[in-house]
Amino acid sequence: MALEDICCFKDKPTQQLFPFPALETDYHNLELERLKTSQTNWGDPQHIFIPPFPQATPFISRRTSRFRPPNHALTVQRPFPLSHGTTTLGFIFQGGVIAAADTRASAGGLVACPAVHKITPIHSHLVVTSSGSGADCMLWERILIREIRLYELRHKRRLSIRASAKLLSFMLHPFKGTDVCVALTLCGWEKEGPQVIYVCSDGARLQGDIISVGSGSPYAYGVLDGGLSWGLSKEEAISLAREAVFRATHRDAYSGNNVDLFHIDAQGWIQRPREDLKEEYYRELERRSKRRREKKKRDTIESS
């Protein structure tokens, strides 16, 4: 597919901007059409089935389901919850970019998985942190990796981070207003310097110095705003990111379990080993009880 393209095997005049023919009804996902005629390469293997629904009716719908999506004219009422809820953050400093996230995926009130990877590398100098619905994020990250790789192969140069964010935002645009819930933070290093850009399925595309996304983000912002400055050393920045995620997981029910941490600098991304926050919590309790003991000792010495 990509090789055909580079060799100009077929002369397709324009590359489709929105590679998703949204009304394709490939009921059996068999893609028989595509296999029969290998020349017509749609450019994507993903046909998304849109159920044909009548317009909004004047009747009152008696059943209110907890899991009703906002634009339910386009989606069937689902009898199950999807995974949501997270704390992710990314910030830039003099030594590059730090991206950190927790590892809990919750579906309704249940922890669907305690060890999810919310930070995915796209190429050697770009990682993306995901938040929102788990399946959506996973698929859209795969699609983004694919598109960036194809661009690299076709044009012999790598897309900049701003351009990648723009591409992602335009690919998500046809799904605005539907149930797709994706909030990704692209964190990377390019020759202009470190960059953190937030892209979301509502259409937002924002560049910033500190971005935190998810249900635990207010707690993470508090810790980051308190301690972050441009001149931090690498170890200080890493420990600040860990602290921010730890405090957020402590207060937010939908975040927890472990911390994943990536550091991106001019040489590329490095992943720190995953850390269990249970140990950190017990260390914190130890420190607090030690401080209390020392304070008590000091008070008894002063009073005597």
């Binding site: 089935f49 009152i60 009898p79 579906a107 797709v180």
Partner: protein, 237 residues
């Protein structure tokens, strides 16, 4: 309250009778119950499911296992809405055959998992109401378990429970196989005999407390020698 004036004739309560248009929404889904479980070991994988098919207060069948054999090294367990389970397994079988014919080799467990993820996501706006767990051997011969949510998010695990009793079984597996939250315990690797016994015990417990789980247990043990199936009776009430 039930005063005489409130009644507008025999059997009708006048003030509380809604007289406007009502939409009785047709739901395309039904919940047919059932629990699936998969465990991955060093050189084996186990996929187990109960065989009860229920709907509401009725039992449709006591012999409807939820494990489906895909290849010689992969078994999938599907629970949720039985109609979607059947269609999904038919689609997976067809895609497996197509892959075999065009690539002249059988799909590996990891490839089946990735393919299933895209099949499920293509129905993002009208999902298959199926909780899938794939169990099998990877290319190196080690056990692999891939667990899915109904729209295609997936992950490789060591053990996973899905279906109606999953919330009861998963913590038990976390404790017994993952040794989570246990202090001072030796982390012994799981042998095949111990794993099969654990799966049987776990399903007996699930049948005690979950009404949709019971009747019989089908266990498929996948090793490099093939797939070995056993059926063990469970509570029928």
């Amino acid at each position: 309250m039930l005063s005489a004036q409130g009644f507008g004739g025999p059997g009708k309560m006048k003030e509380y009778h809604y007289a406007g248009a009502v939409e009785n929404r047709f739901s395309p889904y039904a919940f047919n119950g059932g629990t699936v479980l998969a465990v991955a070991g060093e050189d084996f994988a186990i996929v187990a499911s109960d065989t009860r098919l229920s709907e509401g207060y009725s039992i449709h069948s006591r012999d409807s296992p939820k494990c489906y054999k895909l290849t010689d090294t992969t078994v999938i367990g599907c629970s949720g809405f039985h109609g979607d389970c059947l269609t999904l397994t038919k689609i997976i079988d067809a895609r497996l055959k197509m892959y075999k014919h065009s690539n002249n080799k059988t799909m590996t467990s990891g490839a089946i998992a990735a393919m299933l993820s895209t099949i499920l996501y293509s129905r993002r706006f009208f999902p298959y109401y199926v909780y899938n767990i794939i169990g099998g051997l990877d290319e190196e011969g080690k056990g692999a378990v891939y667990s899915f949510d109904p729209v295609g998010s997936y992950q490789r695990d060591t053990y996973k429970a899905g279906g109606s009793a999953s919330a009861m079984l998963q913590p038990l597996l976390d404790n017994q196989i993952g040794f989570k939250n246990m202090e001072g315990v030796q982390h012994l690797p799981l042998t095949q005999e111990k794993a099969v016994q654990l799966v049987k015990d776990v399903f007996i417990s699930a049948a005690e407390r979950d009404v949709y789980t019971g009747d019989a247990l089908r266990v498929c043990v996948i090793t490099k020698d093939g797939i070995n199936e056993q059926t063990i009776p469970l509570r029928k009430d």
